[in-house]
């Protein structure tokens, strides 16, 4: 079997469910592939892919667009979440916050990426507030900091941190980005190097088709998929996986029905890229701010679907 490696953007979680299902139910093996999911590390998956250390990478949308803008030769083949999974959370008990405008002057627990400022600023501005706040870069400590009241708000992924907060019965409320002028986006790209599409199109196609089968199966059988994930190991908190899968399935995040699973929407990608460019988030390879992303239709390639 041909060996194929996949870099992950985060510790194994329910975003990756299709990959795990495809591996553990033998879809990859049937396609003649021996797939290794590389453990998450402090090095970004886009960098690992661009550096040639992995054949495919699961890349979050912002990472994908930043890397693309900076000139990395990576091409998206797939996007997992058909709707925005991120949201802005705050403590429901915090009486000072009832709308994004109230966030002005508050303390934000951040993760060190440029797009956070664009996002929060847009939301506050569109809600009529002054886009000014205090940022403390905390990484994954952000959620405990929020729970303990050390910070006022942060961003979370509804299908993971959100589920965890619920399991812990934390009284949190949230604002959806889309309600305050941030374009809705798809998230969770699976990408490969541009060169691979040309040279290894067979492999790319069979890998992606097996992956598609994995996600489709997971969308249809969320409970069993959760158990497969848990059996795949290294889940110190199985209920989180179950809860997350349940939410993904019920929320229709993976698509199914009218929305094809994993289908990239070029329009939404273009709009988001433009949003980022407008906010000065996208930079080219030498660090100059891009005022426009250009045409993003070359950023993705779904020709494997046709083969």
């Amino acid at each position: 079997a041909e060996k194929v490696s996949v870099a992950l953007d985060w510790s194994l979680n329910t975003n990756h469910v299709g990959l795990v299902v495809a591996r553990d139910r033998g879809f990859y093996a049937d396609a003649g592939l021996d797939v290794e999911l590389l453990p998450f590390s402090d090095t970004s998956s886009a960098a690992l892919l661009a550096g040639g250390l992995a054949d495919f990478a699961y890349v979050p949308s912002l990472g994908f667009m930043s890397a693309r803008a900076a000139g990395a030769d990576i091409t998206a083949l797939w996007v997992t979440m058909q709707r925005e999974t991120g949201r802005l959370v705050y403590n429901a008990a915090n009486s000072e916050i009832s709308r994004p405008a109230d966030l002005s002057g508050k303390t934000y627990a951040g993760f060190g990426s440029a797009w956070e400022a664009a996002l929060i600023g847009t939301m506050i501005r569109n809600d009529g507030g002054t886009p000014q706040w205090d940022t403390v870069t905390l990484g994954s400590g952000a959620y405990e900091a929020l729970a303990s009241g050390a910070v006022d708000f942060t961003l979370e992924v509804a299908t993971w941190e959100g589920v965890n907060s619920e399991l812990l019965q934390r009284n949190q409320a949230s604002f959806a980005y889309g309600d305050y002028g941030v374009p809705d986006q798809q998230n969770g790209f699976i990408a490969t190097r541009g060169a691979s599409i040309g040279e290894r199109s067979e492999t790319v196609a069979s890998f992606m088709r097996a992956t598609l089968a994995g996600y489709e199966w997971a969308a249809a059988n969320p409970d069993e998929a959760a158990e497969i994930m848990i059996a795949a190991g290294d889940f110190p908190n199985p209920d989180l996986v179950r809860g997350s899968m349940k939410l993904i399935a019920e929320g229709g995040f993976l698509g199914g029905g009218d929305t094809p699973v994993g289908k990239i929407d070029g329009m939404r990608l273009q709009r988001m890229a433009q949003f980022l460019a407008d906010n000065g988030v996208l930079k080219d390879g030498t660090g100059n701010t891009l005022s426009a992303p250009g045409d993003v239709s070359g950023w993705f390639d779904e020709s494997w679907r046709g083969q």
Partner: protein, 253 residues
């Protein structure tokens, strides 16, 4: 009996700290997500012991390999620098600079440059443990007594003989001091390297525990890391003890 009595105070203090911590967690009702009680950590260690020991084995082997390479390398370089002063003037500042590089910046780049294999991890361990060894060895060589050097020089001894018969024995204590410092950092450096990219190891375990909101597992990994380091230090102590010609005789000088 003796060794047990010697470490008794340490054990008592450690137990006292653990007790205070446990009680604080129980009374102050802090979230175990922020500060798990020692008993939570112990329980986590117990239930996850199979997984942890697999990761620990990987970490230990990388650390041992990197550390021993580093010691050998530090010794060779120290000898080279000792015999070639211009080389010392040329390389020492660079070695100092190498210690001023923040690993968090370098580690991910190392992974990109050298891949997921053993190499980048060994390089990082060497980067961390090499310098204290080198500095200790060089300062040990410099600590040789003038009288002894003069005596041997008067016998017509060349630089090599001076080195072997005076500087090397004089550097014994410094060598082991450096070895202890380096051994202390070997495991931690390995975990750090794994954090930036590895297939398994305590570093990977910590990362996934953290992303799964399991502070108890993070602390369990800390316990394992400390234990591995203490084992390494114990091994160094044994080597020191058994390589001492005057074992048991505690001469003062």
């Amino acid at each position: 009996m003796q060794p047990l009595r010697r470490i008794l105070p340490a054990i008592l203090i450690a137990l006292a700290i653990l007790a205070v911590w446990e009680l604080y967690c129980a009374w102050a009702d802090v979230s175990p997500l922020i500060l798990p009680a020692p008993s939570d950590v112990a329980r986590a260690l117990g239930t996850e012991r199979a997984v942890i020991s697999e990761h620990a084995a990987s970490t230990l082997s990388v650390a041992a390999l990197g550390f021993s390479t580093s010691v050998a390398f530090a010794f060779l370089i120290s000898v080279a620098l000792h015999f070639l002063p211009p080389l010392e003037r040329g390389l020492m500042p660079l070695f100092v600079v190498s210690q001023t590089v923040p690993l968090i910046a370098l580690a991910p780049l190392m992974i990109l440059w050298f891949g997921f294999g053993l190499l980048p991890k060994m390089l990082l361990v060497i980067l961390v443990t090499f310098f204290p060894m080198l500095v200790s060895l060089l300062s040990g060589y410099a600590r040789a007594s003038r009288d002894h050097l003069d005596l041997l020089a008067s016998m017509g001894a060349g630089k090599a003989t001076l080195f072997r018969r005076v500087r090397l024995p004089s550097a014994r204590a410094a060598f082991f001091a450096g070895l202890r410092i380096s051994a202390t950092y070997a495991i931690v450096a390995t975990i750090f390297a794994e954090y930036a990219g590895a297939r398994r190891g305590i570093g990977i375990f910590i990362l996934s525990a953290k992303n799964n909101f399991r502070a108890d597992l993070v602390l369990a990994a800390v316990v394992v890391s400390a234990t591995l380091t203490l084992l390494l230090l114990g091994a160094v102590r044994l080597v020191e003890r058994f390589s001492d010609r005057r074992r048991g005789h505690h001469a003062a000088h």
